[in-house]
Symmetry: C2
Subunit: 450 residues, 2 copies
């Protein structure tokens, strides 16, 4: 029956209370009654101190699954305190791609020990997955696909399935292979259940689905799943041999991570950044980003300094100059954001770059006219000097058009050099808009007031 | 066989060439050979002019599915040019939730006409879905679930399924209901295919899955799917009556939109923003955001103006002041970004808010010390005046701590008042860091140099 399910946040609040009062028995019972993903969420939502207590209270046979659901940062943290035997026990129940992810976080020595502690079959299967980096199809796949041959009748397939203890989760298709294990088609369970049992697999299988080449980048895998509404898809090597299958749950992780990446990068942060990282971890990471921005701030300051004498004569310039720079930053960031998203979604290519660039510059120009007029009036009234109004209006126009052009051209250029535009774009952009803003405004003022 | 599949971008480039050379017949053939989601992607990746030509070349019986895959903005655009009869024809082949989304975009008059053009059953089913806003479980559901009764044997269920022409896509479970249509459990196809055919549904069904209440917010639905690795899930009303089911493809759209929302909001943009919106649409939307930021820039300017006389005396202050403000903005944005993501992921609650706030202020303080020291040395050397070094160091400390506190407290506060922290947070934050940065630096300087 539907009931008002407690949200994880409620559970966490309750657990915190119980922990605070030292009622560990209650905490242990509550905790181990939750699905592994919820336990992982609780760990990720807890400050470090609670996190360690909670981890110790989790039952050993749940630890593997919980670990598989954690972010890389946290996985590494917990793993670093285990020895090879513990890791081997804990990961036993996991899917190949999850074990591979975990093993790849460990020092090579430990990984080898863990692999040695496994039986031959498990090891061979795992090594197949670990062979691939985790950002291509090969690193996302499992080897649990059920394969069948095309000459069988559906009736035989049904009887074959009945001999299984269990069909793997997220199995929507059986994979049809030839005698060299090459992919030739898919037999959806949906078809198997309604089609005539005397028909053969060959007659009923779907052959219009292209399998995923093992080296396909993970974001391309995600796009394929999204466009085709797949639940699972076969992965093949260059010769068409079936290597495994990818399931939608792993694809969702890719989608989340990619989206997180764009969002966090704009602030110089890593998508794996742990929300509750201790100060000792978070502070140094952020410090680097602040340092880079400090260097660019000094560049902007140097630009201002060129007009030292003019500012001395007309202090109003110092009052107004941040307006020009900041408006450029905002306009440029808007353009940059639209382009970064468009590139991430695979919408931007050779054929539409010029159109986009032209549109952005046009928008910059039109909004430049609008807000330059407003600023001109406001500044003229404020300082009772219509010259300064004209000067700031002209500088604003120059900076908004520059901002639009830079915001659009920069991500296109950075992408071409394989530099992440979400990470590097913002810093370069604001440096440009600051410098151009200050130089345009103070430069024009110098021409006039000198 | 695997082959190097042309990427959509390649296809688009080829289409553009063909369009440019007026080879419409080729374009029509290429276009209509693509899956609907790819056609939708092409439309979304095209400037308006091409878009309209492409749309006209799509075969009528594909139009509905293509429309269902488009973003709201583009849907509305194409729909506005159709009459009710066209809309009714086009949407016939779609799933309920997609039709409901489309109809909700139309003027009420047209929606009524479209509904009237449908047969009674379709209309009744649709009205059930349209009854709910599209950001809760009810708005995401379809009514195509296959339901069975608990007393049947699996053998009977198998024969019952065989009477279906087709089992709906993404069917991983049959839904078990009682005679009042209330949800009582799920029978996975995986179980049906391996379990003893003489067993009853009641014996084999899973009863540990909670159905989704119809008014559950869509982001909560997404979290449930992610945590439980669901492919589909039943939706029920308050009395436990089954209303429909949600499938993972619609959940992925929710995940994408939520992530997009956070990313775009930070630049004052809407997640539905069309990458290729014409200037006439994009410029006014952006202008509003620029206007809001202009107002805050004037507030910062007014803060500077209070120290007019001090700047006149020491122009170096005007040169250095943007450094203090900009470092505050960067540090605050980092904190804001971490908090906004944490809130979006449901990680932040009463029990850890204080911990987070304390950690952020501590980080602000530590990085404040670090970079204040660097700035102090740099400024002292530059202007050959160690007083100015000390003043800027103190101002930097004050601003970085303020930035950390504001960046953390602001999203918590805004969320409590149901204001979107990703949208409003950035503007308020940079206003605070600008004003505090300028006032701290120029104020301290005034105390010293006056």
């Amino acid at each position: 029956m539907p009931h008002n399910k407690a949200t994880p946040q409620d559970t966490l609040d309750k657990l915190t209370l119980a922990l605070d009062s030292g009622a560990f028995v209650d905490v242990r019972r509550m905790l181990n009654g939750l699905p592994p993903a919820d336990i992982a969420h609780l760990l990720e939502s807890s400050p470090p101190k609670f996190r360690n207590i909670l981890w110790k209270l989790i039952e050993v046979d749940l630890e593997g699954e919980v670990l598989g659901e954690l972010s890389d940062d946290l996985q590494a943290d917990f793993l670093s305190r285990m020895d090879a035997a513990e890791v081997a026990t804990i990961t036993e129940s996991l899917e190949d791609d999850d074990i591979a992810d975990i093993l790849q976080q460990l020092p090579d020595r430990v990984t080898r020990e863990v692999l040695n502690a496994m039986d031959y079959q498990d090891r061979a299967r795992l090594e197949r997955v670990m062979h691939y980096p985790d950002d291509v199809a090969g690193g996302l796949m499992n080897t649990d696909a059920i394969t069948i041959r095309a000459r069988l009748t559906l009736d035989v397939v049904l009887r074959y399935l009945r001999r299984h203890e269990e069909i793997p989760e997220m199995t929507d298709n059986l994979i049809v292979v030839n005698r060299s294990d090459q992919f030739i088609g898919l037999l959806p369970l949906r078809t198997l259940l309604v089609a005539d049992p005397s028909a053969t697999v060959r007659e009923m299988m779907a052959t219009d689905v292209d399998p995923i080449p093992v080296n396909t980048p993970d974001d391309e895998v995600a796009r394929l799943f999204e466009r085709n509404d797949w639940v699972s898809a076969p992965v093949v090597d260059d010769s068409g041999k079936l290597l495994g299958r990818i399931t939608i749950d792993d694809v969702i992780d890719v989608i989340r991570e990619d989206a997180d990446h764009s969002f966090m990068s704009m602030a110089g942060l890593d998508e794996e950044e742990d929300t509750f990282a201790p100060v000792s971890k978070a502070a140094p990471r952020r410090a680097i980003w602040l340092g880079i921005n400090l260097a660019t701030a000094f560049i902007a300051a140097a630009a201002i300094n060129m007009f030292h004498d003019t500012i001395e004569k007309v202090v109003a310039l110092a009052v107004l100059m941040p307006i020009v720079a900041s408006m450029g930053g905002i306009a440029g960031t808007q353009t940059l954001t639209v382009l970064v998203r468009g590139i991430a979604m695979g919408q931007v290519g050779k054929n539409n770059q010029t159109w986009l660039l032209t549109r952005e510059v046009t928008i910059g120009f039109l909004n430049g006219i609008l807000w330059a007029a407003v600023v001109a009036v406001a500044a003229s009234l404020w300082f009772d000097d219509w010259h300064i109004g004209l000067i700031i209006a002209a500088a604003m126009m120059i900076n908004l058009v520059t901002a639009a052009f830079t915001g659009a051209a920069l991500p296109l250029l950075l992408t071409r050099f394989n530099i992440d535009p979400a990470l590097a774009g913002g810093v370069i952009l604001t440096t440009v808009t600051d410098v151009v803003g200050f130089v345009a405004f103070l430069g024009l003022a110098t021409l006039f007031y000198a």
